[in-house]
């Protein structure tokens, strides 16, 4: 038996997802739709905030959402009450969304009819970090009830996201939330990361996040493109 030889492959294991995500990104850009994804632990308040975002953005923009869960269509029904088109992606046992699921869920939608598309990932701070969905902006959420050191426990997901959003600030004093410590944790795992703090329930801080999302779309638009 001859000596085994080492044959170089050098292929990204998630190359398939990366290619699909890149293709989605191109389609989104060509259609002029700005795509925002949301990741967090289960219960951090993604769906509740998305209800607010869809409601407020729909007054001036054309918005839609995809929401991923292992089971039930509850979130899609809830978000659909905003009047915006919403589709549920039921993953079964899969703990994250990937680009192929997003592509399938978009079938039949004319992307050129949209200004903003929101993708709410499965509630999970671990697995979604590996999967590019073709989004323009990824928001990572943590609520005031989760502990100020949450980012330090999950550095990978914070590094895969663009903007951090601290939620449920209306509960901050009740849980003795230390905002400085939370900001320091975020800064430690992702220096310079933008942080927004808000409450979907009281509305505090929501306008600032909306402005950031709208600015993201403005900045992405090529010069001279039609509004």
């Amino acid at each position: 038996m001859s000596e085994p030889r080492l044959v170089e492959v050098r292929q990204k294991i998630l190359k398939q997802n990366d290619l699909l995500a890149r293709e989605l990104r191109r389609r989104f850009r060509d259609a002029g739709v700005f795509v925002v994804s949301l990741v967090s632990s289960p219960g951090a308040g993604k769906t509740r905030l998305l209800e607010t975002l869809l409601g407020r953005l729909a007054t001036e923009h054309r918005v839609a959402a995809l929401v991923g869960d292992l089971a039930t269509e509850n979130d899609a029904e809830r978000l659909g009450r905003s009047g915006a088109p919403v589709r549920q992606i039921v993953t079964g046992t899969v703990c994250h969304l990937d680009a192929s699921m997003v592509e399938r869920a978009l079938e039949g939608w004319a992307l050129t009819d949209l200004d903003f598309l929101f993708i709410e990932n499965v509630g999970n701070l671990v697995c979604p970090s590996s999967y590019d969905l073709g989004e323009d902006l990824r928001l990572v959420f943590m609520s005031v009830t989760e502990g100020e050191d949450k980012p330090r426990k999950y550095p990978t997901i914070f590094n895969s996201a663009d903007v951090a959003v601290i939620t449920k600030i209306d509960l901050a004093s009740a849980v003795e939330f230390d905002a400085d410590a939370a900001h320091a944790s975020i800064e430690a795992v992702r220096p310079g990361m933008e942080v927004f703090s808000l409450s979907a329930r009281s509305g505090a801080g929501v306008s600032e996040l909306i402005a950031r999302i709208e600015r993201g779309r403005e900045q992405r638009r090529p010069a001279g493109a039609a509004v």
Partner: protein
């Protein structure tokens, strides 16, 4: 646990490459970066499970863990970090968001017996 779906994908890629190259695969060499979101032990376990009824049953998975390497603009130098956090320069202590290595999730090579 998504390491299982990653193991399945890894096996598909390796089988495809092996078919293209010809010969019998005895081992896979894989790189996992500290910020790749994949745990080495979970991947090793998942690989054994996923390869069991395939042409790659009995092959070894050899994992090279790649630490985070950051570029510090103040020091104008790259540094390897012992941990993904804090993401700070080990020399000047300033924040270093510029990650140069550490996100790898790559099939580097196959060991093939002819």
């Amino acid at each position: 646990m998504h390491e299982l779906s990653i193991a399945v994908t890894l096996i598909e890629i390796a089988e495809g490459e092996a078919a293209r190259i010809g010969g019998k695969v005895t081992a896979l060499h894989v790189q996992i970066g500290a910020l790749a979101g994949v745990v080495k032990d979970a991947l090793l376990f998942s690989y054994d499970v996923a390869s069991a009824d395939t042409a790659l049953a009995g092959t070894r998975l050899i994992v090279e863990e790649v630490p985070v390497t950051v570029y510090c603009a103040r020091c104008a130098c790259e540094y390897s970090l012992a941990s993904p956090q804090p993401l700070v320069c080990p020399v000047c202590g300033g924040g270093t968001p510029d990650v140069r290595r550490g996100r790898e999730l790559q099939l580097q090579a196959l060991e093939i017996e002819s």
